[in-house]
Symmetry: C2
Subunit: 603 residues, 2 copies
């Protein structure tokens, strides 16, 4: 690593990092009970509703505030310096709790070994020493919640989830027509009871607090990460920024190629959202890809390595037991989870229960010392419609329920991963059984894909299942890109995957009746009906694409106020005619009523 390395300069000038606000939008902050609880939102400015008489002023439309995952990358008042990393906004809160200490050195052997090596890639040099619970302490948000403590993270989340209503409520300024049940105390209670998790490693103080639970907004996760065949560090950092720009609530770094440790450092230090990983992937790299050579010691060191970097949740496939493996051999698609197949191979090679299962309480001890949450992996999820809801899948799910109880005994936060490929009529059974056997721990599903026959469009096959299972109660949806089953997604694929999953999550919020979820729909529909084209674009999930599609056939500036688009042309726009009808009705109904007609009330 040297200053002359051109890749360092690439990172420094961040030419490849997307940093502008979304069109028509600016970052605003709502402050909580203390000045350092500053909750970000994206505020979308709207134009006036035009007056029918162009000489009269229009009627103003209030700006619309939306949940914002994009961090300071969309804040024009902030300076972005990837080499420095983001401001550790939670550091003060963590220090005030006085239950952690900064270690004199990294605890992982692997980390220390890596620090002695030379690399031909840029390294993140502004690293902090790791923080860990003081001996005997448990620093999980669940632990605090169960003590009755409302942490600043919880208050932050209450403001964020209630679109600022919790802050108004605390100040006694909440409008009567906008009630709010998402108080800091409600957040605490949901976490205490295990129905929600706050993934918030003490070593990722840069992350903006967020919550995953079915009584909150449905979240989405974007997977990034290189594989042996393609991709670079710069691309991965930009994929994280890009993912959060479009609405990714968490990002999983699933890298399996070279320099996993160094890439992750860059990502975490610059990420405003919690990062999840599957530690097994890196552990397997450490034993040269030979599953049977995996050991508890290698795995344990990997957990510590990643916990001290700041990973906030670990996918751990501890639910695969030796006895489950025979249930998979006659499946159409066997075991399709990478972690699942690796652990199954290990179990068979050693003819033992997996070290993830036998060392589960040891893992809990690590998790609670850094506040890493479990994402208990569904290693036996179905990889085809034919295998959906089979004995293998549900046997593992029951084991995950048992492990949830053990984790909770340690006050360690847990979510449960779910399928996979499931036809629509079998989706609800997944949700219902998960709630029952996993004691309402949050469900975190991949899709599910409702058919197998559309490679190239699996963001859609899975988006259908995701919307449905989100409505039924899934707390977080893991996105699927158009490249699923075919190759590693590029930036465009990541965006399409995210937008598809924002649609699924928002549709679920609407169907669940999440307070305020419909406000954005109402605003965009009003804009649409009033031909405020720019507002329609800006209120959408992807203003750039909406504008580009519109302009493909009508690029002229005046088309942005026209009362039609190229779909129907000027004479055939129903909404234009509908305005005329509305006006005519106002006139005619008076006229007809005066004439004694009752026809409008006949049916």
């Amino acid at each position: 690593m040297s200053a002359a390395n051109p890749k360092v300069i690439d990172i420094k000038d961040r030419s490849g990092i997307t940093t502008q606000p979304l069109p028509g939008s600016e970052k605003i902050y709502i402050t909580g009970s203390r000045d350092d609880i500053r909750v970000p939102f994206r505020q979308i400015s709207l134009t006036d509703t035009p007056n029918r008489d162009p000489n009269l002023p229009g009627e103003p439309n209030a700006p619309v505030m939306v949940y914002d995952t994009s961090g300071i990358y969309t804040d024009t008042t902030e300076t972005i310096d990837l080499e420095k990393g983001l401001t550790p906004i939670r550091q003060q809160w963590i220090e005030e709790r006085d239950d952690t200490e900064v270690l004199p050195a990294f605890s992982s052997n692997f980390t220390r070994d890596q620090d002695g090596l030379e690399f031909d890639i840029p390294l993140f040099t502004n690293r902090r020493l790791p923080r860990k619970a003081k001996p005997g302490k448990n620093v999980s948000q669940m632990h605090y919640a169960r003590q009755g403590i409302i942490t600043p993270e919880m208050e932050y989340i209450a403001i964020r989830e209630s679109m600022g209503r919790a802050a108004l409520q605390a100040k006694g300024e909440l409008p009567a027509d906008k009630p709010n049940h998402i108080t800091p105390e409600f957040v605490r209670k949901e976490v205490a009871e295990g129905r929600a998790i706050i993934p918030a490693n003490v070593n990722h103080p840069e992350a903006e607090p967020m919550i995953i639970g079915r009584n909150f907004l449905v979240k989405i996760n974007a997977n990034i990460g290189n594989s042996a065949t393609t991709s670079s560090i710069e691309e991965e950092v930009e994929k994280m920024v890009w993912s959060t720009r479009w609405g990714g609530d968490t990002v999983m770094d699933l890298s399996t190629g070279k320099h996993i440790h160094q890439t992750r450092e860059w990502i975490i230090r610059n990420s405003p959202v919690p990062i999840g990983t599957v530690p097994l992937y890196q552990a397997l790299e450490k034993v040269n890809g030979i599953a049977e050579d995996l050991t508890w010691e290698v795995f344990r060191d990997t957990l510590i390595e990643q916990a001290e970097q700041g990973v906030s949740y670990f996918t751990i496939h501890a639910g695969i037991r030796l006895a489950h493996i025979p249930l998979t051999v006659n499946r159409t698609t066997g075991i399709v989870s990478r972690g699942g197949s690796i652990m199954a191979a290990w179990c068979l090679a050693h003819h033992e229960e997996s070290f993830l299962y036998t060392h589960f309480e040891d893992i809990c001890e690590i998790m609670k010392a850094y506040d890493v949450s479990f994402s208990l992996g569904d290693g036996l999820r179905p990889g085809s419609q034919a295998d959906a809801n089979d004995e293998a899948q549900f046997a593992e799910l029951r084991t995950l329920g048992e492990l949830t109880h053990i984790a909770w005994k340690h006050d360690v936060q847990v979510m449960i991963e779910g399928p996979g490929h499931v036809p629509m009529h079998k989706i609800k059974e997944n949700m219902d059984l998960q709630l029952e056997v996993c004691h309402e721990a949050p469900f975190y599903t991949l899709g599910p894909l409702v058919t197998d026959i559309a490679p190239g469009y699996d963001h859609i096959t899975s988006g259908i299942g995701a919307a449905m299972i989100g409505w039924f109660g899934t707390a977080m949806l893991c996105y699927v890109t158009p490249k699923e089953h075919l190759g590693l997604p590029n930036k465009d694929d990541v965006k399409v995957g995210i937008i598809t999953y924002k649609i699924a999550a928002h549709a679920a919020d609407l169907a669940k009746g999440h307070p305020g979820a419909h406000e954005r729909d109402d605003a965009i529909s009003k804009a649409r009906f009033e031909f405020r084209w720019e507002d329609q674009f800006n209120l959408g999930l992807d203003p750039d694409t909406a504008r580009a599609f519109h302009d493909e056939t009508l690029p002229q500036p005046k088309a942005k106020v026209a009362h039609f688009c190229s779909m129907c042309g000027p004479k055939f726009c129903s909404m234009k005619i509908s305005h005329d009808v509305k006006e005519a009705f106002a006139e005619k109904s008076e006229e007809f009523k005066a004439g004694g007609s009752k026809i409008y009330h006949q049916i």
Copy 2:
């Protein structure tokens, strides 16, 4: 029109028409009880499952047969001549019924007037004279069905819907493991009882018979048509061919620009699928776009004009009554159906019930003379989540139920159009109410879109709702393209819309347990698990895109047999490891069983 017109040559050399079979596929035909019942299917050839020992032969995989809407355009043995039009495969059946006659001239004043004009566009010259029921005769498929007659169309459909099983059954050759309830008699009964329609105008004998009903495969419709701002005849013909190539079961020609009549002739004469229209659009063109100038006479002439060209179903917004209009004035998005807004404007201007409603039985007389089916339009469908399931929408739906009874009195086939924009939790109410008040007439829905906030992605917002409502019982799904709300779709948009809706329809077929629907899923999943990449591409809904996505990162020919893709790389492919696990299990389980171990059966 002259031979020197270069546009005629454009059509003749059909350089812009897509005519190759899909990759790995060939057209096959299954013959019914008579030689001229030749039902087309696409047969996808598969490669062998490789043997673990590369010196031994692989295990063959039977070809997979799928429903095929693409007509002769994908049949390499056929000659395509757009100027001649397709072979009228139903003509003999229609003539044998001896209840129609060929008229000496077109009945519509408009058609006769047009025939006297000169045009600067190519005209379809190989036109037939129109056919119509003999006086007093009713030529609808429903009429035959109610007489107990199984038409060749019904037998054709039984073979098509049962993937050939009905033909085997008739010959006594049906395998015991593949039962079939979709017999010709079942088709007849469903049509007789109004639960299904066969859109089959006697003037479109070129169309391959198909059925729309909830006890059959879920169908999809693609909308094409020019508008005043863009598009040409050649593009519209190709859009029809393109739509059917990717799986459009019917095509609606929604043209509102110039030369609607002439464009439609080209489309119908070359279309293997039934064509639907909204006659009101053309009627409005005839009165220069002024809704209040519409008259029953203009509308009636338009119905006859289009019926004699061969349109198989008409969207008719007869359910909008004067009394419904006040219910729409306080809506967020008013009236968003073009036909609905036009008729509302007419009703208000005249302060009368619409001529569609008052002349409904006159319309029935026209429909039964050509066998045109009703698609009763939902002029008051909600255009936003806020307006979903409101009084206006359901009041109109009840009126459509009343009209269904009237049409059935005339043995005229009916389907009912449905919404629109509806959040997930309100979708089922739509389906249940439609079945109840419309007496199980087939439902034909546009989406519904489950959120309003994603312009540019409304194929997805609506695909979610479409899959769900298809599962609940909707018989045909009207596609939505990514350009919805923004502009006129181009060819790429049409394809994306179709594939999205094929996904929704197929997911619904799976969830409904349609016999055989899972066979394609099973075949593609087996191919995926066996790394038969080419088979995976070819079994998908869009082989071209799947292949292109795969090749983006791994274009080398050897990657097509590789046991990994760029997503996970060679060491991390779960399915590769899963094969090793399966093999290891086979070895080890014998070994362990011999040793007396019971561990595999412990849980």
